[in-house]
Symmetry: D3
Subunit: 167 residues, 6 copies
């Protein structure tokens, strides 16, 4: 049984992430989606909220589990005896950063292997940051995230109505 781990911030999960999850769940026996909780990065959604949204959008995929981890990914891999990290690639800038991370992880534990999958090119421009930017200014995110995520984004930004910065 080959198991893969898909780590990320998922703040929040986008249709691009979901596309990678669906593809990885199709080729591996089991897929763990891991919300990385990095204290130094401020997020819109709490770790609990990000887990809940991931569980909601993946609930029809039987071989996917959602969890979280604080600290180094290799420690998670070791504690779970998992060998394969899945990362989605959209563009060249992704590639460079992900390569750095993967080489660092390989240095920390040579038994861990990172496999890169291409995001569907329909989502090649998509990132959680852009989704939040669009939602913050009242644009429609219907094609970018699942309905449950869109609803949560609306709730977050209604709570914090921005005042215009130039009048």
């Amino acid at each position: 049984m080959i198991r893969a781990v898909y780590p990320g911030s998922f703040d929040p999960v986008t249709n691009g992430h979901l596309d990678i999850i669906l593809r990885a769940a199709r080729v591996f026996d089991r897929l763990s989606v891991v919300v990385m909780s990095n204290q130094s990065k401020s997020t819109l959604f709490s770790v609990e909220e990000r887990i809940a949204l991931l569980q909601e959008v993946t609930r029809d995929i039987p071989n996917v589990v959602v969890t979280h981890h604080g600290g180094l990914l290799v420690h998670f891999m070791q504690s779970e005896k998992a060998q394969i990290i899945i990362k989605g690639l959209r563009a060249v800038s992704d590639f460079e950063y992900e390569f750095q991370m993967a080489l660092m992880n390989r240095t920390l534990d040579d038994g861990v292997e990172t496999l890169f999958m291409m995001t569907n090119n329909q989502y090649s421009y998509l990132s959680s940051s852009l989704v939040k930017e669009v939602a913050r200014f009242g644009g429609s995110v219907a094609e970018l995230v699942q309905p449950v995520v869109a609803a949560e984004l609306r709730a977050k930004f209604l709570a914090a109505t921005p005042s215009p910065d130039f009048t």
Copy 2:
């Protein structure tokens, strides 16, 4: 009559921006330069100051108007019934980010088209950030920005004389 929109932070306008404005004003009937006021990004110059500097450096180009917008660019395009966004490209890193933005804008409104122009290669290294860095430490920005912008930069940084951080 074909009208184009050139959005940006312009904090402050550089000779690279001005080069794009001149080229775009030459090929389109009318060009709107739009200062995007993004609350989440702290700027050196206020929106009013950025508009004033742009008006000053473009006052001899008859078919250019300067304005501002807070929020999503596609909303501006729709309210102005404008179809063409102009963006300057200097390097590969520009390219990736600008592509993401342009694809996102196309998703939000398929009637909006982004056209990329090359900055004169004489200015291919130039960015508002680098200009501010040079001015902050007392370097000459005479070849990088117009005289009126250089004067305003000097005024900003004289007001905030830095104390040495290591003695």
Copy 3:
């Protein structure tokens, strides 16, 4: 009236090219699609065949004309008194080559301006070379080119049935 010129080899025209033609025809008053005949590059389709295919796939777009040119593009621009070159960008490697060409053209004639448009990301992987490779080995090109182009590709490769190179 603003007129743009879209040059290329078009050997043969793909759905990616057609996407750029449709978008450019929507924002400019008139679009000339120019088959560049470069003697040093061997092509599958003759210049006449490439023109015929382009005329066929663009015949419902009233403001598009198809023509050809041998030699330097700037000479064509000058003889036609056209100012705007349109190029499609798909990826970083495109970007570098197209930038080189555009800067060279600007050196040869500063009055000529190159504007880059993004190919629909659905076609970001598509090139005439890949289309020919797929067709040569009997793969389906139905999603990659228009039906008339697919038929011509089949005809070309049926005429030259490859013998297996390893048995």
Copy 4:
């Protein structure tokens, strides 16, 4: 049982290829290394020679088989009912080309998934072309390929002693 396919020209197999083979064989149940015979590309080694060298350098890895295919890779995947293509990535230029190929393959058969693995950074500069260039001019390839490959390269280039092109 999850099976992966690693296609390439392997003209000849380098230590970079072997690194990918070892890593892929460790994470998948079975790995097919496929010599792609592309008629339009002239090679130094024949398909039979390339297969023989691959079999020699992988003979101690029990779950690896070496085979060949002429034509489209998706046809091979379909006939073998294999779902996973493995590709090694070294650098940005690899990335762009491999992305194009992977997106094209996905268009031809959405059931086929390409997974990218990083070559050990010790081999990030290595390519079959560079190896042949070094061997052709009598440089040592001892760190670049396995001893059996080095011996075959020497044999090839001794047979064709180059005469100096400038005296």
Copy 5:
């Protein structure tokens, strides 16, 4: 006597930096390693600490001196009558940023020349930021930095034990 200047943040010095220092010290008569103190960037180590670590790891290289500078690098070059800046390149993203800086420096003083050296590909993934990230979460940095740097990193992060952000 040809003298080169190697500037950086060195927060802290990694084995990648040390590799560049050793290579540059081998080809130039004298090498000044300059800790740039940039007030706007918060660092883990103070300027004094960064200088001390650099002096410690370079103490066996006779033609290297360590110093610091606040402000623009070209001012340092002019005051020291130095002509050559050395920068290490690891990847494409480095390349773009370093090119921008080098072109800006050339604009500020055309007598200053930036020479780029390749980091050993064994360290191509290595950055001070990644080293700090690994050390912060208790990973081993033994292969990434010299022993004295590893000890200082442990001391820094023990002092600031992070509390888990999700329980």
Copy 6:
């Protein structure tokens, strides 16, 4: 005395090459410009012609010598007891290829160091191939190469008047 080696095809030498030669001759004690004669690549100018043009355009730079070499560059470096290779970088695509070559050379001889210099951004688009393309179709190369090179290009292409490939 520090000596540097600047290798290339120089088919023919452009203003971009000359810019690198001038800059390198200013920072090193002696510069050898080496015409690499690679049998597998067909060139417009013979090795003798390329040497003669380089000697002509560098005759006022006292510390420059022009020579040639067939085979591996590291063999030249070893026979001349030279340690420093100079390469010009214009763009990302240069960077990748040059990095590969430099890492390969470092593997073949770790005592050889490649230093990269930036081409003046005025010439960032310039290549010998583009120059030949422009000259072949009768465009002006006056801003791209020295007068003596322009004259030789005219002579080459007048001798081989192309017949139009489409009438």
